[in-house]
Each structure stands twice: as C-alpha cells, then as structure tokens.
Symmetry: C2
Subunit: 301 residues, 2 copies
C-alpha cells in the first residue's frame, strides 16, 4: 500500500477543543491514522502527525486546513514560534512505497485546492517549491517576517503566492510542501562550557559551511552541568545520523571533552538506524524487511 | 494486542502441495498471519513462520501438526537434517506484550492436546522443558538419535514423552517448546585460513566455554576466498549481537586478520538493533516505539 505521512502545524496550542475538532476533521476515514498530536502552549501551536493511503492524503489535509481556518483567528493569535496562518505549515513526507515526486504532486494539488476553494494564499516550500528562494522554510517565514508582515507586503511581486489570492484574511497563509523525514538529534558533552557546544554546532551545520541538511545550535543543560549540541537533520538519507555523530565526537576531542550520550527526540525511520549499523557492524545484504516489526507491518497494512 | 510468533518445522521440503496444505491448515482465521514459508529440498524440511493473537496460537499450531501427521509418512522420509517427526519442532516465541511464561503455557497446552488427541509422543524443550536434560534441543534430537532410533528406544524410562503415548507411529514424535527469538548471524574474515575461523568460533561459543546462548562454527567461503564464523544467537537479550561482533573483531586481531562484513540471515527483532546503537552511538532514552515503522505497527494491529 502506498502510504504518505503528513505533519501539519496549526496555530493553536492551548485550546484542546479546537485542536480536537481539527484532528477529527483530518480523520476522513478509518484508513487515515493519527499517530501523534503535540500541543505546545508556550508556542501556542500544535503539531499533528498522521499517516494515510496516498489517495486520501489530500482530503485529510484539506479538511484539517479548512477546519483550522474556521476556528482560528490569526488577528488574535499570540505565540513564541513564528507563524503565517491558522494552518501554518503542511509538509508531506514519503514513506514505504511512496516517492518524493508523488509527495510533491500531493503538495501541488492540495495547494491549488486550498487557494481556490478556501481563498487562502499558499506558498510552496522545500521539495515542492516552484520559486527557488522558497525552498528553505526559514526564508519564507521567520521571527522578523510573520503573519503581520505578510499582511503588509503580500501585494508585492516577491510575495505573490503560488496559489490563492494576494490577500490575507483572518486564517492567514499556509505553507505547503514535501520534505524528507526530519530527525531531531541531540548530543550531550561532559563539559559545562557553552562555547564548546556552540563551536561544535558551527563546525557541523550547513549554515556555517559544513554538513548540508543539518541545523545545529549549542545549549546549556544547567541542571545536568552539561552542554548539548541540538540538531535537526533535514535529509538523513544524504546526511546520515552516524556521520554527524562521529563528526561531533571528533570535534569534541579537540577540546578534550567527550560525548556523554545522544538522544533522538520523537520518531526516526528504521532505515536511519540500519544505515548506522551498516557502518558500526559492517552489516551487508540487510534491509528493513528483515526487521521483524517491519515485516509484520507489511503483512498488516 | 498480545501476539505470539510460532516457527514450526515440518519434515517435507520438496512437495509444495503438501506444504501448502499444512500452511492452509495453520491459517485458522485471518488474524493468523503467515510471514514466511521456507522449503529446503536438500534437508527435505520446511520452516513456517507465523504470528497469531495469543488466543488462536494453539489452534493454528495444532491444525498444522494434525495436517502434517496425515500427509507425511516418516517411514518414507529422507533428508540431511536430523528429524523426529512429521511436525518436527514447534517453538513459540514471545513478541510485543507476550511473556515467555505465556509461551511456556501455550507449549504445555498444545503438547497435551497433541499427545491426547493425535496420539503423538510430545517432548517439551527449551524454556518449556519439564525434564532438565530436555532443555537443549540437540540433546533430544541429533544426527545419531532421530526418528529411527526413537522408535527403538521410546519404551525406555529416559524417553518417556511429556505427553502422549510411548509409541511411535508414522507421524513420529513432535518437540514442542518456548524460546527466545533466534538470530542467525555470520561474520566474514579477510583470510582463507579455515583454522582461524574455527578458532574464533571456539573462542566465542558456549560449548567451548565462552558466551552463553551462542552456537558457532567456522566455514570456508571458497568462491569468495574468505572464511566465515557462522552463529546462532539463542537469546539476544542476554547475549547481544554487538557484544559477539566486537569479540570476533578482537579475536581476529590476534591472527592479524580483520572483519570484512557481517550478515543477519532472516529476521531480527528491532530491539536487537537498538541495543547495538545504544552502545555505538551512546543512544539514551530511546525505545522501539520511537521507530516510525514500529509506531505505525502499534496503530495497525
């Protein structure tokens, strides 16, 4: 079965009733499975993770966006995280037999429908971008350019949406795209010197010239008397987690410190783990279908 | 849902029609999922792997054993692998929420039913053994003690079955038990010196005083000009694969050779892979439910 993952972000993280209504709208039939709903009251934002057969994915996402546009008023929304609209970012992620190209097509079809039927401006990002500078989400929507700024600038040529009107209503704009599975990965070091974590972050991230598809920052873990290199790995197929981990281990040696532990926050695809074992244990002729749980999944879905 | 895996071995590996009939008998309802059927014509033996909700597991295994006893005549059976009966070995394996204790109970209930209703002598082995010396399968049935020898000796006190008559019909005897998930693991070395593989095998296996739950032999891979340490890891929870792999790597250094590659033959449980990454990448606070495929499985089953 061709399945696709979709991880829409909505600008409501406090009112459970509203989030429940959005989630229920997404469940267009029982083959659409909601894996996770994370409400973040500080950011006033929720992240829904669902998996759907490819043929229902657009309907499910569309219904969620529609419901959010009815229930969330961006003129009243406040929250720490940058945001553009009621349904803020809606990425499709290829899983199993689905290709990135199919996810790009889903994003385009969904974008067209949201623009035409809901009259919401739609910007296409990442692998689904049609305008070169919109590939990077942070270039579209960031701390200094959000819903309020878009309202002012949307008539400018630069901000012409990919679909929908050049006009911002109370539902704001929606950023729709297709991307690889994102891995949130942290590595903790046995020092409380924040400069070391920041230097290592700089030495491994794309922004400062190192690994592509890696965002990294250094943080203090005060209560543990440690520092952390905190990362998003945006394309683990091209920049595998083991390579990033080993690079951090090596850089740490420069400062005479060492890695205490690594953590994966949230979900990780099985093949990201297998790729690591291919290096550490020289595993050959091995694929995810040899993992019992994965084999069983293929029988059940 | 409480699921159990069962891996019955049948003494027919050439006639597909017979194997199909046995497999169909196992599928007592659509919740019983056959994951794999491996017919081995040289050994004249088939290995069926199925997964079942715990409440149907006995029926499914019983029906397979019954069908095999009707279709296979051990007086006519020939094959390289040691064998006791038409249904030769039937182990239950705990997966997901199922415990080893529950699998032992399944083995006992199945054994009683096979003994009483089918009049087949049943020997309980591994974790389900009631007689101490029957814990090890190879102590029950091996190259020098098979169907033919059992026929002669079954009246002796030592060979009194755990269930069923002290009499061997054309269906032979069945060995029923409960065991951990078995991992078949090979490590290849960059030498053609078979003595090195044999020495390393001796240095890591239980039989010659090393890792418990590990069986190992040295083989030549002539066409590749390499040797192989070929292993069965019988309890990966107590003797993890990474520990065995690293031991082989270390021993190889003694001979100035190195590991070319490792392979896992057949299925491996996800947590065996995760345990390895906990060592190689110091992964903490991580469990199998964070692996996308495993999370998805929990939603589908």
């Amino acid at each position: 079965m061709k399945l696709v993952e979709c991880v829409p972000n909505f600008s409501e993280g406090k009112n459970k009733d509203i989030v429940d209504q959005i989630v229920n709208a997404i469940k267009v039939n029982e083959q659409v499975k909601v894996l996770d709903v994370e409400m973040d009251p500080d950011h006033n934002r929720s992240v829904v993770t669902f998996v759907s057969p490819i043929e229902y994915a657009i309907d499910a996402a569309y219904n969620g966006i529609k419901k959010a546009s009815e229930l969330i008023d961006m003129d009243k929304h406040k929250g720490a995280h940058p945001r553009f609209g009621a349904a803020d970012v809606v990425p499709f992620v290829p899983i199993f037999d689905t290709t990135m190209k199919e996810c790009v097509n889903l994003a385009w079809q969904l974008g067209e429908r949201v623009g035409n039927e809901l009259k919401i401006p739609v910007y296409l990002y990442d692998k689904a971008a049609k305008v070169e500078w919109r590939k990077n989400l942070a270039d579209i929507r960031n701390e200094s350019f959000q819903y309020e700024q878009l309202k002012v600038h949307i008539k400018e040529e630069k901000w012409k949406p990919d679909f929908g009107p050049s006009e911002v209503g109370k539902a704001g704009a929606t950023i729709i795209g297709a991307r690889e599975f994102l891995i949130a990965f942290n590595v903790n070091l046995n020092t409380n010197n924040i400069e070391i974590a920041k230097n290592i972050a700089r030495s491994i991230r794309e922004k400062t010239g190192s690994f592509k598809n890696v965002r990294a920052l250094g943080f203090e873990l005060k209560e543990r008397n440690m520092v952390q290199v905190s990362m998003n790995i945006l394309d683990y197929k091209k920049t595998p987690i083991y390579r990033v981990y080993e690079a951090i281990k090596l850089e740490a040696e420069k400062y005479g410190v060492s890695v205490v532990e690594a953590e994966i926050v949230g979900l990780v695809p099985l093949d990201a783990l297998i790729e690591a074992l291919k290096v550490y244990m020289r595993l050959v002729n091995f694929n995810s279908n040899q993992v019992f749980e994965s084999k069983l999944l293929s029988v059940f879905i």
